[in-house]
């Protein structure tokens, strides 16, 4: 079925045909024809954000929590450039986003027209792919191709730049056609390599699974298969920041997060293992620490849908290019058909060793009665909310983000939204808006620091306008905590510009926007205050005034291997073997 219509109408029709129900956007001159079409229909809901960066982060939150691509509609020039940070964030974390930007009319491109920017040029490096559509007849096919590219292979952001005259002109609409694209990344892993991995699993004495965001991106089936494989083999499992929830934090084989602020037992298991099975993670520098001393005695298998992730940072012995769910299914099939073998005795001894490391209790901190410890605040938030199956946690970036990853448990995928690769301060609040839009009745909490939160605080307007009961749980230490921590540890305690001067009164700020504000600075009041926040049906800013100089531990300092972690208040005496001794 083909039909004649304007480019602007085509955009709306194509989005409908792609199953889009929500668009996050902000209007402007170069997208007015599209906004006119949005106005005249009721199938697609448009959420008006307060800044284009917020639109992209909201779409990311929507995408991460639903598994569907997020859609953004912004204008030319500043609309597009404001979206760049969000697009880069989505690229680094492999989040499928389709960004539609308006552009000045084709006959004005290159004339430095009002609100003109070379959008495809600017975003070429921060999108998975982008298009400038100069012909209305090509518009619908390009939008369909954009959705195909965004969700297939390693997901990522794509952008379509649509000049205003193309929106006004009439052309022929073509509905989506499956497999019209030459872009068909491989999803099935090579069976010989999978068999090689299974053989290594059968004889491994100290195996560990190291999983990442690729498991979540692969869909719910991947998480299910991963759980089945872990339960069947009894191998311990750790995960990156991006992969939390793929395997439940309450699971018996769970080691906790690994990496720079990962758990001691997880990092030492990575360092000492003899078989590392990387499923959908990319050996980020926050994970490996010093890469030439990374897990020196292990065979490394790496499952990734992106061939360029393999051997990029760490040399891999068993590379498997494919989609996580497909590869896990084959691993299970091959392993079962060969008799479900593992070296159970040695794996048991390995678990015992891990239990020894666990006794270090690396997340221990010195409790306080006069002030709220940030770790304590998150422990209480976790205790009071963990029974809610519909709980979604977003974070900003910094100490609070690491503490949330350490002290909160995630039992399901797609319930944890954080900016991992790019580390974008200001991600959490708009992201929580996107999650709440997708899940109107869910409990959506953004664990924030006051500095990060202020970076996109304008989205309070969005939260109030759409009556989104998002809970902004701000750990307020009046500092850029992580920057301050690095300055303390690495820069001679010279705290250059790392404190938040002239902070707003968050309670009054909430009230100014028509939301609820709660201030809590006393540990004795904390539980009641959290309960008050949870009970309120509407957006809440929770100003949790915490200890100002708390550092986030454990920590692998940059340039150090896994077994040279710094522990905070944990008891280290006599528990660590000689290998892991260089500890503070």
């Amino acid at each position: 079925m083909t039909r004649e219509m304007t480019g602007a109408k085509m955009v709306v029709q194509a989005l409908k045909d792609q199953g889009v129900d929500t668009v996050f956007g902000y209007p402007g001159g170069a997208v007015l024809p599209i906004y006119d079409e949005v106005f005249q229909q009721n199938d697609i809901r448009h959420i008006l954000v307060r800044h284009e960066q917020g639109a992209v982060h909201a779409a990311e939150g929507y995408a991460r929590s639903t598994g569907k691509p997020g859609v953004v509609l912004v204008t030319s020039g500043p609309g597009a450039t404001n979206a760049v940070t969000g697009i880069t964030d989505a690229l680094m974390d492999s989040i499928p986003i389709v960004v539609l930007t308006g552009q000045v009319p084709t006959f004005m491109i290159g004339s430095d027209a009002f609100q003109e920017a070379d959008t495809v040029g600017i975003t070429r490096a921060c999108t998975k792919h982008n298009w400038l559509v100069k012909d209305t007849d090509r518009l619908s096919a390009t939008i369909h191709e954009a959705f195909h590219v965004a969700v297939n292979g390693r997901p990522g952001p794509v952008l379509i730049d649509i000049p205003k005259d193309v929106q006004f002109a009439t052309g022929t609409y073509t509905p989506p056609k499956p497999s019209a694209s030459h872009y068909q990344p491989r999803v099935k892993g090579d069976l010989d390599s999978i068999t090689e991995l299974v053989e290594a699993m059968e004889t491994a004495k100290k195996p560990v699974f190291y999983t990442g965001g690729g498991v979540i991106n692969s869909g719910p089936a991947a998480s299910q298969l991963l759980r089945e494989l872990i339960e069947a083999t009894g191998f311990p499992i750790t995960s990156t920041l991006m992969g939390l929830g793929a395997y439940p934090a309450s699971g018996a084989n769970w080691l906790g997060m690994l990496g720079m602020h990962g758990l001691y037992e997880a990092n030492l298991a990575m360092h000492d293992c003899d078989l590392m099975i990387n499923i959908g993670a990319r050996f980020d520098d926050r994970i490996t620490g010093r890469s030439d001393a990374f897990s020196p005695n292990s065979i490394k298998a790496h499952v990734d849908i992106d061939p360029s992730s393999i051997n990029k940072v760490i040399k891999t012995d068993i590379p498997i290019v494919g989609d996580v769910a497909h590869v896990l299914e084959d691993i299970l099939k091959v392993w079962k058909s060969r008799g479900r073998k593992t070296d159970a005795a040695n794996v048991k001894a390995w678990h015992k060793q891990i239990d020894e490391w666990r006794k270090v209790n690396c997340l221990a901190y010195r409790p306080a009665t006069s002030s709220i410890k940030p770790q304590h605040a998150l422990e209480r938030l976790e205790a009071l909310t963990k029974d809610r199956k519909d709980r979604f946690i977003c974070t900003e970036v910094g100490q609070h983000q690491m503490w949330a990853a350490q002290y909160m448990g995630f039992d399901e995928p797609n319930h944890w939204m954080t900016s991992g690769g790019l580390g974008t301060m200001g991600y959490g609040f708009p992201s929580s808006v996107g999650v709440q839009i997708a899940h109107p009745d869910a409990l959506v909490i953004n664990v924030a620091g006051e500095a990060s939160w202020l970076m996109n605080m304008q989205e309070m307007g969005t939260a109030v306008q759409y009556r989104l009961p998002v809970k902004q749980f701000i750990l307020n230490n009046e500092r850029l905590g992580m920057v301050r921590q690095w300055q303390e540890l690495l820069h001679g305690e010279r705290y250059s510009h790392s404190w938040s001067e002239a902070l707003p009164d968050f309670v009054k700020l909430a009230e100014a926007f028509g939301a609820k504000g709660i201030l809590c600075d006393n540990p004795a009041d904390l539980d009641d205050a959290i309960a008050e926040m949870l009970a309120y049906d509407g957006p809440v800013i929770f100003d949790c005034v915490v200890e100002k100089h708390e550092n986030c531990f454990p920590m692998i300092p940059s340039g150090k291997p896994h077994n040279e972690m710094l522990l905070g208040e944990a008891e280290t005496q006599g528990v660590i073997d000689s290998k892991g001794s260089v500890l503070v």
Partner: protein, 186 residues
């Protein structure tokens, strides 16, 4: 001192100054990349090289299949085996790239480049330039009383050698097309 025992002024604690222990022997590879002939595709390829710090020694591009809208980009690059593998993988994931071939490893290949050289001089130097051009099978495509323009095709090192000989004889200007390459045989 901080608990990390980092000396004052030291920069070795940066996370970014560390490289894994891959082989550090640099190799020269010729890559043939088949791409959609669309606006911006060359920028994508070049942007990949500049953005990730890879080398380009030579790059040629032209449409090779008009009906299929395909262009062929031939890139000569240098890097360690790990970097070369990364370049190929990174090129392969660009959506407009159809195919990446490493002509250096996939079998014997032929490489050719065309160059034009302007040589100015008089008397014996002029005669000598002509004599050497003949040895290299270079053609004279323009001549004045004081100058020649030579056209030469061959592998890049042949052109290098020719240019080296022309330099003392009055080489004024050189224009090179960059390398085009094909695998030998069927």
């Amino acid at each position: 001192m901080s608990p990390l025992h980092i000396q004052k002024g030291s920069t070795s604690h940066s996370a970014y100054n560390l490289r894994p222990s891959f082989s550090d022997i640099e190799e020269r590879h010729t890559l043939a990349v088949l791409v959609d002939n669309e606006a911006g595709v060359l920028a994508r390829v070049i942007g990949l090289f500049s953005g990730r710090g890879y080398n380009i020694e030579s790059l040629t591009v032209a449409e090779v299949d008009h009906t299929g809208h395909l262009s062929r980009i031939t890139i000569v690059t240098t890097g360690t085996p790990q970097v070369i593998a990364q370049i190929k993988a990174q090129l392969g994931r660009i959506v407009s790239v159809h195919d990446v071939h490493d002509l250096t490893t996939e079998g014997a290949s032929v490489e050719r480049e065309l160059a034009m050289l302007k040589v100015a001089g008089e008397g014996e130097r002029r005669v000598e330039a002509l004599r050497i051009a003949e040895i290299f099978r270079a053609n004279v495509v323009d001549s004045t009383l004081g100058s020649f323009v030579f056209e030469i095709t061959g592998a890049p090192d042949k052109i290098d050698a020719f240019a080296d000989l022309m330099r003392p004889l009055g080489l004024v200007e050189i224009a090179r097309t960059g390398v085009a390459a094909l695998l030998r045989g069927t």
